[in-house]
Symmetry: C2
Subunit: 305 residues, 2 copies
């Protein structure tokens, strides 16, 4: 039975591409590994897959009894059904260390960089395995996406170095032009349901016993979202009503470099504790806030303590 390389719930470009790259690298190291995902690609990811001729991984929803490599997450809250009965052989990630545990030694590569793609680029080099051109293109886009074209505070020199090397392998001459093309696809909201938009890049967190959902939409200009903002607010109220303490939705303007945050919360004062901005539940503008991982989650975790 093939082992699975598997990204988190509501897969983004990094978690899909990382599954493809990890399966490729582990296979070339003599293991039998297939990429998998917990859902279909977003429009942004579709664009990247098509651009480089890659195939979307199989969608799975239960991993009981399976051997798996986790990519781009280590939280049980982002895992599929059956993880407790799965055998986690490895983790490649760039987030905080979550609550996944194993009963046998594993191989974990977790680095404080902007993207799992950057860690994988270094793993390929470490093991002396050549990166296929198409996968290099995918990893390049994943890094541009996760680091918001190097503007996110999560971006490190290692990410920039990886993009430079991957662009050569993939034959991409103008990295930033490719990034803008990709973010324009990401910005498009036409034809998507409110639910699709809220869950496009959404994660649940356990914050001191409270279930807190945080979604993010990144656009090249916030005005793109004017016509859907009321619908998004209604939609996160529904998500909150499913038993969450709070749901926050970051509307990130990647050119202005900041986020408007919509919210529905049992206690909106956590927003003031986290960001110093008073609100009774009305949206707030958070200048400079672009990274859920580095700027939003740690602040809320402190606020919930």
């Amino acid at each position: 039975m093939s082992a699975l390389a598997l990204g988190h719930m509501n897969p983004d470009t990094d978690s899909i591409i990382a599954a493809i790259a990890a399966a490729d690298l582990y296979s070339k190291r003599g293991k039998d590994v297939t990429p998998a995902a917990q859902g279909k690609p977003t429009p942004e990811t579709e664009f990247v897959l098509n651009k480089f001729g890659l195939t979307a991984p199989q969608v799975i929803d239960d991993v009981a009894g399976k051997d798996i490599y986790l990519v781009d997450f280590s939280d049980l809250a982002q895992a599929p059904k059956g993880l407790a009965e799965a055998n986690v052989l490895g983790i490649v990630d760039h987030h905080k260390l979550g609550d996944v545990t194993t009963s046998s030694p594993l191989e974990a590569w977790i680095w404080p960089v902007g993207c799992t793609g950057t860690v994988l680029k270094n793993m390929y080099d470490f093991y002396g395995v050549e990166i296929p051109k198409a996968i290099a293109g995918g990893m390049l886009c994943a890094i541009l996406s996760d680091t918001v074209m190097f503007k996110s505070p999560t971006c490190t020199d290692a990410d920039k170095k990886a993009v430079e090397a991957l662009a050569k392998i993939a034959g991409v001459d103008d990295v930033m032009a490719l990034g803008m093309e990709m973010f324009k696809v990401k910005s498009a909201v036409d034809g998507a349901s409110m639910k699709d938009l809220v869950f496009r890049d959404y994660k649940d967190f356990n914050m001191n016993g409270n279930k807190v959902g945080i979604g993010q939409l990144e656009v090249v200009d916030l005005s793109i979202l004017d016509k859907v903002k009321a619908g998004l607010q209604e939609e996160i109220a529904k998500v909150k009503a499913e038993g969450r303490h709070s749901v926050f939705l970051l509307l990130t303007d990647i050119m202005k470099e900041g986020s408007e945050m919509l919210m529905v919360s049992d206690d909106p004062s956590v927003v003031e504790k986290a960001f110093g901005v008073k609100t009774d539940g009305a949206p707030v503008w958070l200048p400079g806030v672009m990274s859920r991982k580095k700027q939003v989650v740690p602040n809320f975790e402190k606020a919930f303590k």
Copy 2:
């Protein structure tokens, strides 16, 4: 304030040497890191430190408010006081993934190899940092100790390769002779109290809600322990009485390649579930069993489910 590189409770040679090596490597990567330990070196570790002119790390028992790199463990049960209020910046380890979590991205190098020293050797190479001669000698001994001179089932090709390279750096011509010298020191029981012997290499585990202690003494000949066996049995009964479900003590004969296991348990039937050997609490001989991590802990974890 200097960050700490810190090994597990009841430090063995690997966790002391790994703290020294990690602090050296991270310092040379531009971070301010000092080695630390949760206790004094064992006679084996003393031998290794003296052999290569290394200094025992400072002993600490509270890490609240500190920046730390964990080496050789990722379990809260093996952590010092205050870990919940510490900032874990990194993990270098070769065990199963424990229940430590972080609130920020970290750097974790966890590999399924025989020794943290092997992971660190590869990290030095990855970052292009030269390994100081004395630290190379210490890492070499840590690998020989953890892999029981390559006899343990935890030993991998990566461990053997690391020893070969480290021996050259440290100027050690006969690796196996050094290993036997070290294991003879480890085998000595004269002058040590029963408590010292039980805790020389001892770890507590949470097995399905039960606190289970597992210690291990490795000797070049089991007959060395004949005169202390009754005393050890009495001592583990005291440790068990402090609120544990079971305490097991492995007396490992590294030449015969097997372990006699002493025990005090609320339910000795877990031994039969784990190893297929019936006992009412009397010691059992487990042929081929040399590794707590790979052979004993996983079997008991299944037995406790």
